[in-house]
């Protein structure tokens, strides 16, 4: 499978530049006894790809289903293209929202051929037969399924059904495309391939998408902005780099990527450079970047937690280290993963996961660990 051609043959609907495609204002929804969505504000700009990322039960799917119109919010508002679509008192039915949606289960209709599935939205809209055929051919070409137009879904592979679902959602040229964990039913290698393909498609035709997933890798590949959710609230909104390198909370740090968290006490503050020096409980002192807001209140003696990613550790001392002696660690176990070694170490009582190209040398099962300069980050 090759990537779709970069020339945008598929023209997205005309868009008003400034107005957000989707705007959520203080959105709330209770399901049973739990506040599934507990006050969410978010806006999605035209052409943007926003990914809602979070563990199961964080409210991401509930949010998506409210946007689609399958659920009505208990509070707050949903605006589509600047017009109210849902409030607690009013909900535009799904069929009037001009959206496209790709479902986790694909939801490809088994009694209709590929072409009939894809053309359904146009058929319902009352388009002429020739228009429908042209529209179907265009999107099937886009997802490279033209050869299978006459087949029934039962004759297709999972990946192909996935493409049918995508083509069906695109056929009506929706102003906003909703995707509910669309790749989670595919096997691992196909899933990885489809990520890049979806991203290329989204960019080439300028789609506006709201994508729900619990898979951080998927979110990193697909998002212009990631919205990390937990317990019905937004923990952080940011670009993939921001979310990964400068997480706003411990939760974000541990949910996106693997987090090594080291506790310590602030020992010096350099507000100009946006840095603090922390005396780690496990020994050694370490310069770390920190969020501006946290930095404003930081003073020597206050407690702090430092986040370090497994790939940011070194077993040799860097030329200009942020540390003084290196962290004294003991060896627990080692696995070889092809591209690198995965080491489990322990600093004091804190377990650490470290990725290293080299095996490293240990004396009596101990060694000194260094952070890549500029990689440490204080999490609130």
């Amino acid at each position: 499978m090759s990537l779709p051609s970069p020339t945008p043959r598929f023209t997205p609907p005309p868009q008003v530049a400034d107005r957000p495609r989707l705007e959520l204002r203080n959105l709330r929804k209770r399901l049973g006894d739990t506040a599934a969505v507990n006050g969410i504000d978010l806006s999605v700009a035209p052409g943007e790809s926003v990914v809602l990322l979070g563990p199961s039960g964080c409210g991401k799917t509930t949010t998506l289903r409210m946007v689609a119109g399958f659920l009505q919010p208990d509070g707050g508002e949903i605006h589509l293209d600047g017009v109210v679509a849902s409030t607690s008192a009013f909900a535009l039915p799904p069929e009037k929202r001009q959206l496209g949606m790709v479902f986790q289960s694909y939801a490809v209709w088994p009694h209709r051929t590929v072409a009939e599935n894809v053309g359904y939205g146009l058929e319902v809209a009352g388009k002429k037969k020739t228009e429908i055929e042209a529209g179907v051919a265009e999107v099937l070409d886009l997802v490279q399924l033209s050869a299978l137009a006459k087949r029934y879904p039962a004759e297709l592979s999972g990946g192909q059904q996935q493409r049918v679902a995508l083509a069906r959602a695109l056929a009506t040229k929706p102003s906003l495309l909703l995707l509910d964990e669309p790749l989670s039913n595919l096997d691992a290698s196909l899933r990885e391939e489809m990520r890049f393909e979806l991203r290329a498609l989204q960019k080439s035709i300028g789609l506006t998408t709201l994508y729900v997933t619990h898979d951080q890798d998927e979110a990193l590949v697909l998002a212009d902005r990631i919205v990390v959710m937990n317990k019905g609230r937004i923990e952080q909104v940011g670009t993939p780099e921001e979310v990964y390198r400068t997480p706003a909370s411990r939760f974000v740090g541990s949910f996106v990527g693997i987090a090594n968290l080291l506790e310590g006490e602030v020992d010096a503050v350099d507000r100009a450079a946006g840095k603090v020096r922390i005396a780690l409980d496990a020994g050694d002192r370490l310069w770390s970047r920190a969020p501006a807001r946290w930095l404003a209140d930081a003073a020597p003696g206050s407690r702090a937690t430092v986040l370090l990613r497994p790939e940011d550790f070194r077993l040799e001392q860097p030329q200009v280290p942020d540390q003084e002696t290196g962290i004294d660690v003991s060896f627990l176990s080692e696995s070889f993963l092809g591209s690198h070694y995965e080491l489990k170490l322990q600093a004091g009582t804190t377990p650490l996961r470290v990725q290293s190209r080299r095996r490293g040398s240990f004396v009596d099962g101990r060694t000194r660990l260094w952070a890549r300069p500029g990689s440490a980050w204080v999490v609130a």
Binding site: D81, G82, V83, E95, L99, A107, P110, V124, T172, L178
Partner: protein
């Protein structure tokens, strides 16, 4: 549903232009009307007559709560005897049906006995033939003096007196057992088939012998199936009307259901009839509660699977004994009665020697004679069956959808109401219908249609609901998000995907309406006779040849309609995730 061009307003953002229309569309009026209408029909069909029934038996002429009606009703002559008879009937039939059904199920699913296929076939036939029709066959075979088996026994086997008497309480028990044992047989067979071989193998690996495994693993696993079947059999026996009416008239005894029927003869005494129906209702309610709480929780244990060769017991020498048993059962419960029925319908007169020369078609000629009551009853029955099947399939689809897809407080109430109708004894239900609708629809087929539709709706509801349950909600939501309104999503996605279940429901309801006797007997007037009531009339009048001819028609139409089910199930049904 009016298509509002929301697209423009969304795109232009002219917020104020159509707030009213947009608000209207958010109510989804078509969906509201169809669902509301279906629920209203459900209430009219089931809740209203049942409420009346309870009201009549507990409230006196002045509107006060009273138990007087019960006292008076049960003080009537023969009422306690009839109640007692019903009790014995239920006991004997339940024991008999289990004694026949459970061993047969085990032989068929777990042994290498010959003649297994024959048993499944004959259980199917017994199941399809209603008891008021098998009465005809057995009158032919075992009437005290003139029954052909009795004559054979006296003339050739040296009996001094006729050994068999179908016109007795024992005869009634026998006919009821033959009619209901398939319930036990099919339920237990299915359960035995569904036990995953690994359950039993695990016990064998741990050192349990074959017998010990059967007792400690297999039987406990099929216990819920046996219990469910027992409850169904009890309810069936308790509310049975056809055979008790036919045999009771001749042998001069009554059960509760025939007493209710008598109370409704002119002048009808609704309040007594309602009061007498109450014990049946109470037993039914208790049984359904037991079913719901004691059995359902257990039922989830059964797993899917298929009996594997390792689970088949080799019977060795006993094989032929088991085979012989199968043959006797098949012969006695299916081949003999069906043969007798067909033979009787062709015989010049009951009692005439069986010879080619005595075979005539004059009974069928009379059945189809324009001036005779039977012909009109065929037309009535067909019309009613068509209408009932269509009403039930449609209602089943809408209500099944509502219960599966709609989150609102009343959905539990809907399935509760429908299931009440299922457990409700036909005869009592018919009393309720009569009280509720006699003024509006006296002497019309509509009155019978209401009764049939209410009583048979549960079958359609359960079948279609199961179909909808297996459909992922996403399939419909995908249609909605593509721009289809509610009704359109049902038409384009839901209906095509549950068409098989709807079709099967239609056919089943059609067949069952065709043979419905207990409600028809109460509701049919001289101008609205249906086939089963005419058959019963023929039996009571002693015109068994005519009864047989009309019964053959009922059975033939039922069987060929059921054959249609194969058409629905065989059809290519695409895999649904």
């Amino acid at each position: 549903m009016s298509e509002i061009t929301a697209s423009h307003h969304l795109a232009e953002g002219t917020r104020a232009t159509t707030p009213l229309l947009r608000r209207l569309s958010s109510l989804q009026p078509v969906r509201f009307l169809i669902i509301g209408g279906s629920i209203a029909i459900l209430l009219a069909l089931i809740a209203y007559p049942l409420a009346l029934l309870a009201g009549y038996s507990f409230i006196d002429a002045h509107g006060n709560l009273t138990f007087d009606t019960f006292q008076k009703a049960f003080a009537r002559r023969g009422m306690w005897q009839a109640t007692l008879n019903s009790g014995w009937l239920v006991l004997f039939v339940t024991v008999g049906a289990c004694a026949l059904g459970v061993p047969l199920a085990w032989i068929v699913t777990r042994t290498d006995a010959p003649g297994k296929a024959l048993i499944t076939l004959s259980a199917g036939i017994s199941f399809v033939i209603p008891t008021f029709i098998s009465v005809i066959s057995w009158i032919f075979l075992a009437a005290p003096n003139s029954g052909y088996l009795n004559r054979f026994a006296v003339e050739y086997l040296g009996f001094s007196a006729a050994p068999l008497n179908i016109m007795s309480f024992g005869g009634l028990v026998f006919i009821e057992i033959v009619g209901v044992y398939p319930l036990v047989f099919f339920a237990v067979s299915a359960a035995l088939n569904n036990i995953d071989a690994s359950h039993e193998q695990a016990a064998r690996v741990l050192g349990a012998g074959r017998l010990r495994t059967t007792l400690t693993v297999t039987l406990p696993l099929v216990r819920p199936a046996i219990l469910s079947a027992v409850i169904l059999v009890m309810l069936d026996a308790l509310s049975s009307f056809g055979a008790p009416a036919a045999i009771g008239t001749m042998a001069n005894f009554s059960v509760i259901t025939t007493k209710i029927y008598d109370l409704l003869k002119f002048p009808p005494q609704f309040n007594y009839a309602a009061a007498v129906a109450m014990p049946i209702l109470i037993v039914t309610a208790i049984s359904l509660l037991i079913q719901k709480y004691a059995i359902r929780t257990e039922n989830f244990r059964t797993l899917t699977g298929k009996a594997t060769p390792e689970q088949i017991t080799r019977l060795g020498r006993w094989r032929w004994l088991a085979g012989g048993f199968c043959l006797v059962v098949a012969f006695g419960t299916a081949i003999l009665p069906v043969g007798a029925l067909v033979l009787l319908s062709l015989l010049s007169s009951f009692g005439a020697p069986i010879s080619i020369g005595n075979l005539v078609t004059k009974h069928y000629g009379l059945i189809f004679d324009e001036d005779f009551v039977a012909r009109a009853s065929i037309i009535h029955s067909m019309l009613l069956a068509l209408a009932t099947a269509t009403v039930c399939a449609t209602l089943g689809l809408v209500l099944g959808w509502v219960v599966e897809r709609f989150r609102f407080f009343g959905r539990e109430l809907i399935s509760f109401l429908v299931m009440i109708a299922y457990g409700f004894p036909s005869i009592a239900y018919a009393v309720g219908i009569l009280m509720g609708y006699v003024d509006l629809f006296y002497g019309t087929l509509t009155l019978i249609l209401i009764a049939y539709a209410g009583k048979l709706l549960p079958i359609a509801f359960v079948l279609v609901r199961n179909g909808i349950q297996q459909l992922s909600t996403d399939l419909e939501e995908a249609a909605r998000i593509s721009g289809a309104g509610w009704l359109r999503s049902i038409k384009d996605v839901t209906f095509p995907l549950v068409r098989g279940a709807v079709g099967i429901a239609w056919v089943l309801v059609f067949s069952l309406s065709l043979r419905e006797l207990s409600m028809s007997a109460i509701l049919a007037q001289s101008d609205t006779q249906v086939m089963p009531t005419v058959v019963l009339q023929f039996i009571e009048d002693g015109a068994v040849e005519l009864a047989a001819a009309l019964a053959v028609i009922i059975v033939a139409v039922s069987l060929s309609m059921l054959g249609l089910i194969r058409l629905f199930t065989r059809k290519k049904t695409a895999a649904v995730s």
